[in-house]
């Protein structure tokens, strides 16, 4: 099965405190460390497991610049066969649909049976997969947490819905799936592995290579633009309790009892 995973390099926010810059309208990026978007990593692991069982290849593609290559190399160190960087100045400022349009152009240059994206990235858009599927006219499923290959033309997948329930679906290939974290246990990628792929060639595509005109991607074509970042004034928010731990505990128990939480 020929699988392509659309990946994104994002800031690692697990311990980072995202802070606004002094002007208060952008985030301070100077000391951020970057990593592959976690759901995308799960998607690559899933692709590798499928290919290990039934053969094929895994391609990881990303849209960006030189800095984004490290994410491709990491996934190649994990086992992906090909890394693709789609890069062009004209792509900057693209909105979700612009990104999906660019990806669509790339995907149509190859012959892929399965297209995977992560459920969402740091901006929480959760949109690329669905848009890409609609542009390609492929069936789509989001929040996928298990994949079973039925045969060369169909998959059985489950989607994560409320209450921890799973919605079982059958979906025709080629299709687009957005992958939820927890679908598998990704293998470890060590520093040695990454070093070993440091000079493996990465294919690049530009706007011209993909036949993308200014009208369909980039800032000019974008209908959605982020204007600024801000931290809303806390306003109401919680009443922060002060005092010694003992005093706070007494107050908490008082409140809980008042609300009927303790008899």
């Amino acid at each position: 099965m020929e699988i392509v995973v659309c990946a994104k390099r994002v800031p690692d926010t697990s311990e980072n405190e995202i802070e606004l810059n002094t002007a208060g309208n952008e985030i301070e990026r100077g000391e951020l460390v970057y990593t592959i978007n976690e759901p995308d990593n799960y998607a690559v692991e899933e692709a590798l497991q499928i290919v290990a069982k039934i053969g094929g290849s895994v391609t990881v593609a990303t849209i960006g610049g030189e800095d984004d290559e490290e994410v491709l190399r990491r996934e190649m160190a994990m086992g992906a066969n090909h890394g693709v960087l789609i890069t062009d100045e004209r792509f900057s400022g693209s909105d979700g649909r612009g990104i999906a349009t660019i990806l669509k152009a790339f995907i149509q240059k190859g012959r892929y049976d399965l297209i995977l994206t992560g459920v969402q990235a740091e901006a929480g858009g959760a949109q690329i997969g669905g848009m890409l599927a609609a542009l390609l006219d492929y069936p789509f499923a989001s929040l996928v947490n298990s994949i079973e290959v039925l045969d060369g033309r169909r998959l059985k997948i489950s989607r994560e819905i409320e209450g921890g329930n799973k919605e079982m679906n059958e979906i025709d290939l080629p299709c687009v799936l957005s992958i939820q974290t927890g679908i598998n246990e990704p293998r470890y990628v060590g520093m040695r592995g990454i070093r070993q792929v440091a000079s493996v060639p990465i294919q690049t595509f530009s706007a011209v290579d993909l036949g993308i005109g200014a009208g369909t991607a980039g800032a000019a074509a974008a209908k959605v633009k982020r204007v600024d970042y801000f931290v809303p004034s806390l306003g109401k928010g919680a009443e922060i309790l002060h005092g010694s731990r003992e005093e706070i505990i007494d107050k908490v128990l008082e409140l809980v009892t008042a609300k009927g939480g303790l008899k």
Partner: protein, 328 residues
């Protein structure tokens, strides 16, 4: 301003709470708007769900089709494409169905798309300024959207207060005929219900809920002891389940259980909306977290900046003390 539609999910004949939140969004975008509700489905449950929206929607479009008896986003999208006028603004709740439906719908409609909207900051001509969050809620952003060729917005559940509106009857319009036959490359098979765990957290009045801040599996015992002392149950957020420290049946959130306790202790939980989405009924929310900037403090009633690994055991001791000494 273009026509505003709200796609409404429903279950067992009752429209979801989101219906009324989406109506509030519509009115915020265009106070003069007469938003239209759209429901898809089949049979008497669909009819029942359509009936009670009169308070918020002047018109309700009903699309009844047997293949839509289970809401398959791929089919629903095709149906909506047939009936929605171009340049419409479509509102959908941002949960698993909306995530499945909306992005593709926006492409097919040729319109803009913004997800997980928290607020409408302003409307000027064909431009709407919306508020979203990024980085798991650590920071907010203003987003400018050009709706000249319509838009699809998914709305964060609970972000907009449902409007108490004037009484009215909603005109139910049957659009089933316009849809034609529907087929898609994805077919619904069945729903596998999550295994019932040992404890049904939805039945408890008080929940001691733990998040990543519990740090390791062995510390879960600290929460279990507090819950035991209080007669409560321990629930958790997603990362705790992902790390396999608690079973899925204990998870509160959009992909977990929905709970309606009286008191909710959020211990070491950052406050990501996917978790908060599982808390209904406006309980008394006490947040305990080491990080004073954690988003949970914005939604909690009372906040304590402390290390849960130290705070909870002391709280447990106090509760035990309280319970052993008879009330005076």
């Amino acid at each position: 301003m273009a026509r505003i539609f709200a796609y409404i999910a429903h279950k067992d004949g009752v429209a979801s709470d989101a219906a009324f939140e989406l109506a509030a969004v519509a009115r915020k975008i265009d106070p003069a708007a007469a938003p239209t509700a759209i429901l898809t489905g089949w049979g008497p449950n669909l009819d029942a769900a359509c009936k009670n929206l009169g308070a918020s929607y002047a018109e309700t479009w009903k699309i009844a089709n047997e293949v839509l008896s289970y809401p398959n986003a791929e089919l629903v999208r095709k149906a909506l494409q047939k009936v929605l006028p171009s340049n419409s603004i479509v509102l959908v709740a941002h949960e698993h169905f909306g995530i499945d439906l909306a992005p593709g719908l926006s492409v097919k409609m040729g319109s803009a798309f913004v997800s997980d909207v928290l607020d409408i900051a302003g409307v000027e001509g064909t431009g709407i300024k919306l508020v979203r969050q990024e980085f798991g809620g650590q920071v907010s952003a203003h987003v400018q959207c050009d709706v000249s060729s319509g838009a699809v917005f998914t709305i964060r559940p609970g972000a907009f207060r449902a409007t108490e509106s004037t009484a009215g009857r909603s005109l139910v319009v049957d659009k089933s005929g316009e849809v034609g036959s529907l087929a898609a490359g994805r077919r619904y098979l069945e729903t596998v219900v999550a295994e019932a765990g040992d404890v049904d957290i939805t039945k408890y009045n008080v929940l001691v809920s733990i998040g990543r801040g519990i740090q390791e599996k062995d510390n879960v015992a600290i929460a279990l002891e507090l819950a035991d002392a209080m007669g409560a149950a321990v629930s958790c957020s997603r990362p705790v389940v992902d790390a396999k420290w608690m079973e899925k049946s204990r998870q509160v959130g959009s992909s977990g259980k929905t709970v309606k306790p009286k008191v909710y202790l959020a211990c070491g939980i950052s406050g990501a909306f996917q978790h908060l989405a599982g808390i209904k009924g406006n309980p008394f929310l006490i947040a305990i977290n080491k990080n004073p900037k954690a988003p949970i403090f914005q939604v909690a009633d009372v906040g304590i900046v402390d290390d849960i690994l130290e705070f909870l055991p002391e709280l447990t001791n106090k509760v035990r003390e309280m319970r052993s000494t008879p009330a005076k």
